[in-house]
Amino acid sequence: MATLNILIAVSLSYVALLFLVAFIAERLAVRGQARWLRSPLVYTLSLSIYCTAWTFYGAVGYAARSGLEYLTIYIGPTLVMVGWWWALRKMVRVGRAQRVTSIADLISSRYGKSTILAVLVTLMAVVGTTPYIALQLQSVTLSFAAFAGSTEGTPLSDSRSTALWVAVGLALFTVLFGTRNLDANERHHGVVMAIALEAVVKLFALLAVGVFVVWGLSGGIGPMLEQIDASEIGTWQIEGGRWAGLIFLSAAAFLSLPRMFQVLVVENDNEDHLKLASWAFPTYLMLMSLFVVPIAVVGLNRLPPEANPDLFVLTVPLSEGQTGLAMLSFLGGFSSATSMVIVAAIALSTMVSNHIVMPIWLRVAHGGAMVSGDVRNLVLLSRRLSIAAVLLLGYLYYRFSGGGAALAAIGLVSFAGVAQFLPAMLGGLFWRGATRLGALAGLMVGFAVWTWSMLLPSFGPGAILSEAVLAQGPAGIAWLRPQALFGIAGLDPLVHAILWSISLNTLAFVILSLLSFPSPLERLQGAQFVNVFQHSASPQSWAGGGAQSEDLLIMAQRILGPREAQALFQAEARRQGLAGYLPEPSPDFLNALERELSGSVGAATAHAMVGQIVGGASVSVEDLMAVADETAQMMEYSSQLEAKSAELTRTARQLREANEKLTALSVQKDAFLSQISHELRTPMTSIRSFSEILRDTEGLSQQDKGKYSSIIHDEAVRLTRLLDDLLDLSVLENGQVSMNIERGMLLGVLDHAVAATSGTERLTITRETEGERIALRTDLDRLAQVFINLIANAQKYCDAEAPELRIAVRDGAREIAVDFIDNGSGIPRDKQDVVFEKFARVSDQKAGGAGLGLAICREIMLRLGGNVAYLPGQGGAAFRVTLPKSAGSVM
């Protein structure tokens, strides 16, 4: 009894150690000091959950029964690991890029986020894994019983209670460390660390037993090999089909077992870890299997024939009195069993909770706004319940299958079951043409064939399938015999089941994929999976599509409260330019919503919640189009900006020009003022001085008086004229003048002008009156004013000996040109530009006027729709007056 108590104490302290390790690891991870926790070595060790109690104990039993065939179970994974560049690397990349949480998630998201697929895979995984968990419970129970029985001679009163306690303990551990966080990528540092420790323990235990057996009992390698050859498994008795089939099966199972997927893909946080694992894990497997045959041979030789070969690892040291070694061995087996159950329970509970419980809850629990935090609890609760349920299922399976030999076979049955995921998974990773229908069909066909040809017969004849069905097929249909499908008998049952289930699975998958047409989302997901190396290197954010805004609103209301949720949705809808409460579920919005939700329920839950409603949708065509639109909009916006900037530049230039003009005008105004004061002062000075003379000088002669008075009068007239001109100009310039449009002949206007200026006879005017008979419709008086001014100028400034003015009229197509050309010296070139400016005078010596005449002329002509310009190169001063032909277009 003392030994048993010690065993119990050791087991309990070992369990306590595991709890402690997991706890510390979680603590470190929370503090961010978990770098060494995520080393490639820990990753490699965590893969060792592949070696369950079935391999720890069962491999020796397997070897004792079938020789080296047990190696196939390790060779398959070795090939997969060594060939990591083919499949594993891609799986890990996809898993990281798509935030995959389980194998069900991977398959469902590859095929357009299909919920049906997720549910199907989850159910299949549960069915395939439950017996396996039962197997672990059995192995722990058996080893415990063996220990107790061999030391005390009496078996434990109730081995079932051991199994129950183990199940409860495992459930507790898994719930504590497996559902601690709802991390987006479902990583569990504590669990992984504990598993790594257990990996070391079980390897060390098996090696210790092996070393003891080889060197302690058999006297070294040479004698050991001789002993092996001499034993009943001393020759190669393996059928080629089984050898190849089992290698394939174990390789397939290695990739598709939910628990392996969990540690390989989900818990992986760096692809580089694969590099170490690619050779270290095969080495681990090699070491695990190295001493299996020696232990089996020694067990067969030394132990009584009725001893269970499945427990040789334990019973050989015990029979040799090595209790300490046996205890280590027990711990190794215990580690193998517990680590497998923990990870399997986590993987299954994640799948069950994410793909079955949550969708059902979201569908059923529609009514009532729930308080915040509610959903987080719900997810955790559903995980925990799922873990408990999975373990309970395992326990019940163990309980009702009654343990024993039937259960030992379940390992391979389970492998073959989960291997059915392989075609859909690999097909999805490497073949763009794989479709949801194909995957569904493949999985269902494979699962059905597996159930019929492997699972049901595994319970033994008469258990579920009657002997008659096994022998003759259902209802006597021979080609449906479970172990001889299509009437082909003689195959090894295992090879038969693997061959038909996998090949029919693949066939259905391929044919339906070829025949069906995938949805856009499926095709995009397919492209993202198959071309994962070209596409994404980082976890992607939400990109909505399938989501219904209303569902999102309902969910958000439950978590955030109705008012906040509605406000959030309304604001977003307004931002998108929509009325009401339902915005388009754009990627931006989904991200924002997820962030908002994570404030209440944590990031992972929010991600999961949005994922549930979005159907985990990643990208849809609409999104791509939206992205394209966005790009287009940005380009448009930027071109708008460019246009605006160009416009601004233009405006600035205009402003600068305007400013320059204003400055120039200001200068001009100053000049004008000084000019006008000067112009006004000159006559005023004359008037003042002569009026002073008239007033103050006594005895002025009448003649002088008359002379002075006429000077004053002349100056006053000049002043008046100047003021008239100024007034005239200002009126013209301000556009306040109204034109008096009349009909008339150009001839008449010119006659009037010439007559008005004929006071002096000095100027000879030459005209061609025939050409002047042109009808006009304009302000004749104003036009005459211009002509008079031009003729007067010629009179005043023409410096020729015999001044002569030629008036030439030219009737053009569009306009009438009237040229006034004199025979003087003309206007110097540098003055030509300024003669039309106010107060511009060509020379000072002939200060006949104020210099406003031409300015007025130009204003008048502009008003009349024509122009007056200096015409150079005519031999004298020449001005051309142009009038529009219609001559009526007065502004």
Binding site: G67, L68, L71, I75, T78, L79, V80, M81, V82, G83, W84, W85, W86, R89, L225, E226, I228, D229, S231, I233, G234, T235, W236, Q237, I238, G240, W243, A244, I247, E271, D272, L274, K275, L276, S278, W279, A280, P282, T283, M286, L290, V293, R432, P520, R523, L524, A527, V530, N531, F533, Q534, V621
Partner: protein, 105 residues
């Protein structure tokens, strides 16, 4: 431009050891290393398939030596290859999946 390219090409052909050639060489090595990585499981599978041909008279001890010998060899080669391969730098599957047309819909 084309002239420049032509010169660079001929130079690299004539004088191996210059920097650009070195780069090409390392890329080439990397590609071949990955070819090797891809081949490794195939080789392993073929070698491990040999026992299927054995007759029933083959001794278990010989079988153990053969199978475990392959095992150790594979692990060793895989370790050497893994040491030199760069998972992140290589963006692969260059010949497959070039068909982009399927994404257009």
């Amino acid at each position: 431009m084309s002239d420049l390219d032509g010169k660079a090409g001929s130079k690299s052909e004539r004088t191996p050891g210059r920097a650009p050639v070195f780069l090409e060489r390392s890329t080439y090595r990397r590609r071949r290393l990955i070819d090797g990585l891809r081949m490794l499981p195939v080789v392993g599978a073929l070698l491990w398939a040999v026992p299927m041909l054995w007759s029933e008279t083959a001794a278990t001890s010989t079988a153990i030596l053969y199978i475990f010998g392959i095992w150790a060899g594979l692990a060793l080669i895989a370790a050497v290859m893994a040491r030199h391969v760069d998972v992140q730098a290589y963006d692969p599957d260059q010949n497959s999946n070039r068909d982009v047309s399927e994404t257009d819909m």
